[in-house]
């Protein structure tokens, strides 16, 4: 079974790198946008480098009244004009000048110092819950700039634009892929899981990309430039520079250990979340069964357990991350202490101006922040790798090969005849479902597939329009061997009515129109009439405009069935396949339907799976199946005359209703 399952513990380092690599390749489509984002973020770093200096200016030029200290501090080049501007002025004058400069900085970059209240970072993060799903909302809508003001606001707007485009594209692709998978792949994947992957796993892409392109690049620049500055300024005390240099690598080594753990628990958390989603979905969709069986409490308890489990998993993840972050904080602080230990004597010896302490403290803060950020980034990345892995594993799972590769599918119209020769079919797990099928059908015929429950009638009916792919044997359409491309074309020639008709929650008219988008209202009415649906539809207060409710919940099964038949009729496809179309209909309605089928069979090929004699009898040819094999075929009369298994089948049925 092509079941996509990723055992969380199996995301190895190699797989993680592979996923990251793919995410990077994916992001190349946005290289221009990302380059702009990276450029703006780098620029914002230069603004930030300037931010520790106002504190020095205030101390040295105002508080201490422009003391002439024998300072060994070397001022950075961009700072010199400012010093020249302030040099030799009155303290009050300087105070006002500084006020003006600060105001200007606020409007430009939304910051004039390093403290939180002095510096605004442009973000719009919303409240989130305590599990992976609710956190994805902020990921999908991430917007961020290190600074604010006109500069930072532009960057943030640019950021969210990229994030949205990227996430939209990926989830569209994922959804496309889900739809392109063959039906057998749905058997073991719940709808809740699909929702979880499409909604909550896909935002990992933008996170990975930003974390990898923009984050490290800017942090690296940030670190390098800051350390360079420190070197320029404090080279007389090299130990300070060494301490600063040590933070990032130390931090990284410490955090590395946690990466694997985060990945593991991240996967657990997401899987538990997907199960919770699945449980909600199942409880809501199957509410009739739940209430009908009086098992609401059971269902609630199950949900409660699943939800508690997803929280527990997320908590484990949190614990790992907290330990990682604690380690990072430890490293940053330790280095600051070491630096202080070596630096303090120099201050006492008067080698530095007192204001320099603020610069050092500020820069250390910046370095520690950058490297902690890098460490956290790495951990975040692991968590996102688990999400991304869940997305990629779907994108990698086999699609149906009848999926049209391009739009130049040759214009194909079924003309005449379908023939299956010695065809076999196995379920993905190897169970044999159909064996040695010899079958042919022509336009203008009505073919019935008959047999006991589980004989393979429905499987055969799925095989004909290529809903499942045939195994060995020959499949000829109008004399051509069926290839992937032809199969895609063939499916467009077939209208299928399922045993359990599925409707969408739109109006009845829209549901019928799904057969053919350009069908006129008149055509829809006509189809409904042939399907014997017109009378009940007209009795509804809003007629054809009545919304059918979720999964057509407001209609009876028989009514849904007739709408599905109308949908097939309006599609004008030459082949119509009906799976137990009359099982839920009363005899009178059934008769009406059989009459309509007789009417349309002149220019269609009609294939039906049925148990009821009334429906079967009028077929041109009956295939009687048992255990995945065709036992006999022929018209009703012929088969009755031959006295084979079909005649016994008929006998039982007649006896059942007459004896």
């Amino acid at each position: 079974m092509p079941e996509v399952d990723n055992d969380p513990e199996l995301i190895s380092n190699t797989r993680a790198l592979e996923v990251i690599g793919r995410a990077m390749v994916y992001s190349f489509q946005y290289k221009f946008e990302l380059a702009v984002k990276a450029a703006t973020q780098m620029t914002s770093i230069f603004w930030i480098l300037f931010l520790p200096w106002p504190a020095k200016l205030i101390v040295d030029y105002v508080v201490l009244g422009q003391v002439e200290v024998s300072s060994s501090t070397v001022l950075p080049f961009f700072f010199l004009p400012l010093v020249e501007l302030l040099d030799g002025r009155e303290a009050l004058q300087i105070t006002f000048l500084l006020g003006g400069i600060f105001l200007l900085m606020i409007f430009l970059v939304g910051a004039y110092g390093t403290d939180g209240a002095q510096r605004d970072a442009a973000t719009a993060t919303l409240a989130e819950g305590e599990d992976s799903a609710t956190r994805s909302e902020n990921q999908a809508n991430s917007m961020h700039s290190l600074v604010s003001g006109f500069f930072g606001l532009f960057e943030a707007l640019w950021h969210i634009r990229i994030a949205h485009r990227m996430n939209h594209q990926l989830r569209s692709e994922l959804f496309h892929h889900f739809q392109a998978q063959s039906l057998t792949q749905y058997s073991s994947r719940s709808i809740g899981d699909v929702v979880y992957r499409s909604m909550y796993d896909t935002p990992s892409i933008s996170n990975i990309v930003f974390n990898l392109w923009v984050g490290p690049a800017t942090s690296a620049v940030n670190l390098t430039v800051t350390i360079l500055m420190m070197y320029l300024v404090f080279r007389s005390e090299p130990v300070v520079v060494w301490c600063a240099l040590a933070i990032a690598p130390l931090n990284f080594v410490m955090v590395l250990y946690f990466a694997g753990l985060v990945r593991k628990y991240g996967s657990f958390a997401r899987e538990a979340g997907a199960r919770t989603t699945a449980l909600i979905e199942e409880s809501l969709v199957n509410v009739l069964a739940v209430q009908g069986l009086g098992i609401s409490n059971h269902q609630e308890a199950q949900f409660e357990a699943a939800s508690a489990e997803s929280y527990r998993r997320f908590r484990q993840l949190t614990l790992v991350r907290i330990l990682g972050s604690f380690t990072a904080a430890f490293v940053g602080n330790a280095m600051l202490f070491v630096a202080f230990y070596f630096l303090a004597p120099s201050f006492i010896a008067g080698k530095f101006a007192p204001g320099d302490w603020f610069v050092i403290y500020g820069y250390f803060g910046a370095i520690a922040a950058s490297s902690t950020y890098l460490g956290r980034l790495w951990l975040d990345l692991q968590e996102n790798v688990t999400g991304m892995d869940r997305v990629f594993s779907i994108l990698d799972s086999p699609r149906e090969n009848l999926e049209e590769q391009d739009d130049e599918v040759q214009p194909f119209r079924f003309e005449n005849r379908i023939e299956l020769k010695k065809l076999n079919y196995q379920y993905p797990d190897g169970t044999e479902a159909l064996r040695d099928i010899q079958f042919h059908a022509e336009k203008g015929e009505m073919i019935a597939l008959v047999g006991p429950t589980g004989a393979g009638k429905t499987t055969l009916a799925y095989l004909i329009p290529g809903l499942i792919e045939p195994g060995s044997g020959q499949y000829l359409v109008d004399g051509q061997t069926l290839s992937g491309r032809l199969l895609a074309a063939l499916r467009r020639q077939v209208a299928f009515v399922f045993q359990e008709a599925s409707l969408f929650d739109v109006s009845i008219a829209e549901n019928i129109r799904m057969g053919r988008a350009e069908a006129t209202d008149a055509e829809i009415r006509r189809a409904a009439e042939i399907a014997n649906a017109a009378s009940f539809i007209n009795n509804l207060p809003q007629g054809y405009q009545t919304r059918v409710g979720r999964s057509g919940g407001k209609l009876s099964v028989g009514q849904k069935q007739r709408i599905a038949i109308a949908r097939a009729l309006v599609s004008e496809k030459p082949i119509i396949i009906l799976d137990e179309p009359t099982a839920a209909l009363d005899p009178e309605t059934e008769r009406g339907l059989v009459r309509s089928l007789n009417e349309i069979r002149t220019d269609h090929l009609v294939i039906l799976v049925a148990h009821r004699l009334a429906t079967i009898r009028s077929a041109d040819r009956i295939y009687y199946l048992e255990d995945g094999q065709i036992i006999e075929s022929g018209s009703h009369q012929e088969l009755l005359a031959s006295g084979g298994p079909y005649s016994r089948f008929v006998e039982l049925q007649t006896k059942g209703s007459e004896s």
Partner: protein
């Protein structure tokens, strides 16, 4: 009376959230409603708040002392503050009551300061991280309580609600919207509380240095209030939009996948893809608008704090230049700040920043709170729905005895169409009553009424002569089992599916039920037998097989009343015959309803009720009705005619 009420007062439909009309008070009320979920966690929450406050005091206190030492006594040569001196066991004569301290003294301070800093930071960081984990645990518990409540409410709502509601929307409300409750405690109680304390504390300290500067800070929030008031409705409207569009997208995915077969055979992939992409773009653009508004709101708030702050900071610096006396010099003497000096202006500035930052945070929180309010509103909407079917206040549990069921003049209509216009008949215990009638005549709906999935408009349904509304609806449902027409299987094993409604059933009982439902044979052929996982859509089983599993599930409950809704439509005649024989034999004392079209099935019933046009047209045994000239005989003729 109650039936009329149930129609007019409980449409089980969400009322529109009035984003524009929400006042401050409404928002507060919304948050008060969260209290029941927080309440069980109140002691933990208090412990959390206390530890957060302790952490804050610890960090402020140690910061105050350590940075004072570093600035004034290591970097500069000022006398040591009295508190710091006693903490480091320094002789006050030599350290505090002096003009300045010597370089030797300064050097000797380095180690003690470092030790102090290591202890302070170590404790602070460790505590901070433990608290962070504690918080997650508390919040998850709060959210769990709300989630479970919403889920149980959803289960309580009648089919009317579920037919109209979208599953994806339910998922979104349960997961995303309900999560906002976790932030209530943090964003609306703890954070604002701490911010206000920080704000007042900051102002107090600044005022101790200079009352004028304190006053400037005190009123710095006025311009923010104005913009917050103006922008809040916009924010709320946009957040509401963002949430409902995201919920739509969830529904879109769910519907497409649920109907995937229909999508595929009608080549609707393109159509559904386009619908998906449209919904996705709508969701993103709604989030975009909301977040951009919040972004600009944040910047404006920052400007409003930064400008007064600049004034205060520069003024503090200038005062330090002048060496002016501080306002409460005697009090500040202990910290070494009798006059404005380097350390003093730094502390004043730091406290000013703290105060200003707190106000800024408060307003930022308010901005976010608008989104939370919208999320909670959507979650509460579910809880606000009044279930259409509710127990009467004096309802009693239905004791499990052998029962007969009677419908007496039952009237009922769906919101869309009228259905029953006086249905009356009696189904005695120990008999099979077949409900027959044309498609859409309401045979299934009649059984839904018995289960109280909907409430009847008029008339009575009686069990053992007692009106069913006098019983609690749960106890009624426990005594009735419905094998549905649509074969609903759950994503678990065959074994669990059969005992889904009866988790305590033993394996032998499960096998008994499977045997009665004639399912043993094919189940044993499955790869893992009873342990085969069926997955959500159970695509591997044929409809007839699924039908038999559902039947086994219903039989296992052995309830006094059993409803078989088209139980055998997809079975061949032989299997069908056997199952009904089994049921007759094994469940002889039960009241069994059988909904069917098949004559072969109908024949096995003890009595037949023929429904048409909202009324019982005929009632009697097969022989009586088939040989008569009523509608049922025509129905029989229609079937036999074809054979």
């Amino acid at each position: 009376m109650s039936q009329v009420n149930s129609k007019t007062l409980a449409p089980e439909q969400y009322s529109e959230i009035q984003a524009d009309a929400i006042r401050f008070r409404d928002v507060i009320e919304l948050f008060l409603r969260a209290w029941p979920y927080i309440q069980p966690m109140r002691w933990h929450a208090s412990a959390y708040v206390i530890s957060v406050i302790f952490l804050f005091l610890w960090q402020t206190g140690t910061g105050f002392i350590i940075f004072g030492l570093i600035y004034n006594n290591v970097v500069l040569n000022q006398p040591v503050a009295a508190i710091s001196a006693s903490l480091l066991f320094l002789e006050p004569q030599q350290w505090v009551a002096v003009e300045e301290i010597s370089n030797q003294q300064r050097l000797s301070l380095i180690m003690p300061v470092l030790v102090l800093a290591i202890i302070a930071t170590g404790v602070g960081e460790a505590l901070g991280h433990v608290i962070a984990y504690y918080r997650v645990w508390i919040m998850q518990n709060v959210n769990q309580a709300l989630r479970v409540h919403i889920m149980s409410q959803m289960q309580l709502l009648s089919m009317n609600f579920h037919n109209n509601a979208k599953t994806g929307d339910g998922i979104y409300r349960l997961l995303q919207d309900s999560a906002m409750v976790t932030q209530i405690l943090q964003t609306l109680m703890i954070d604002p509380f701490l911010r206000v304390i920080r704000f007042l504390l900051g102002i107090l300290v600044v005022s101790a240095f200079s009352p004028l500067l304190g006053t400037i800070l005190l009123f710095s929030w006025l311009p923010m209030l104005w913009v917050a008031k103006r922008l809040s409705p916009t924010l709320r409207r946009q957040f509401k939009q963002a949430r409902s569009t995201s919920a739509n997208l969830t529904s879109n995915i769910q519907e497409s996948i649920e109907g995937i077969r229909t999508v595929k055979v009608n080549s609707l992939e393109g159509n559904r893809q386009a619908a998906f992409e449209k919904a996705s773009v709508e969701a993103f653009s709604a989030s975009h608008d909301a977040r951009v508004t919040l972004l600009f709101f944040g910047f404006y708030i920052f400007c409003c704090t930064a400008i007064p702050l600049i004034v205060v900071e520069l003024a503090a610096a200038y005062l330090a230049y002048q060496g002016a006396d501080t306002f409460l010099r005697d009090l500040l003497l202990g910290f070494g700040f009798a006059v404005w000096n380097l350390g003093g202006q730094d502390q004043a500035r730091a406290r000013a920043r703290q105060a200003a930052g707190s106000v800024e945070d408060l307003f930022t929180l308010w901005g976010r709170a608008q989104d939370m309010a919208m999320g909670l509103n959507r979650a509460y909407q579910v809880l606000d729905l009044k279930p259409a079917v509710e127990d009467l206040p004096d309802a009693i549990p239905l004791e499990s005895v052998v029962k007969d069921v009677e419908f007496r003049d039952v009237h009922f209509s769906y919101p869309e169409r009228a259905l029953f216009d006086g249905v009356s008949f009696k189904a005695p215990a120990g008999q099979i009553t077949a409900l027959v009638g044309p498609t859409g005549s309401g045979k299934s709906s009649l059984m839904f009424l018995l289960l109280r999935l909907f409430e009847i408009d008029q008339g009575e349904i009686l069990i053992d002569g007692t009106e069913i509304r006098k019983f609690t609806k749960d106890s009624v449902r426990e005594n009735i089992t419905l094998a549905t027409q649509e074969n609903i299987l759950f994503s678990t094993t065959v074994m669990e599916n059969i005992r889904y409604a009866q988790p305590t059933a033993t394996e032998n009982e499960v096998m008994w039920a499977a045997q009665v439902a004639e399912a043993t044979q094919f189940i044993e052929k499955l790869p893992l037998g009873y342990q085969t996982d069926l997955g959500e859509k159970a695509a591997r089983l044929s409809t007839g097989q699924r039908q038999r599993i559902v039947m086994a599930r219903a039989l296992l409950k052995k309830t006094p009343v059993l409803i078989l809704d088209e139980p055998t439509a997809s079975l061949d005649v032989v299997t069908e015959h056997r199952i009904l024989e089994n049921i007759k034999r094994q469940l002889a004392d039960k009241t069994i309803f059988l909904i069917t079209h098949r004559l072969s099935t109908v024949r096995q019933a003890d009595q037949i009720v023929y429904l048409k046009s909202g009324q019982v047209q005929e009632q009697g045994t097969y022989q009586e009705l088939a040989n008569g000239s009523g509608p049922f005989s025509r129905f029989v003729a229609a079937e036999l005619d074809e054979v």
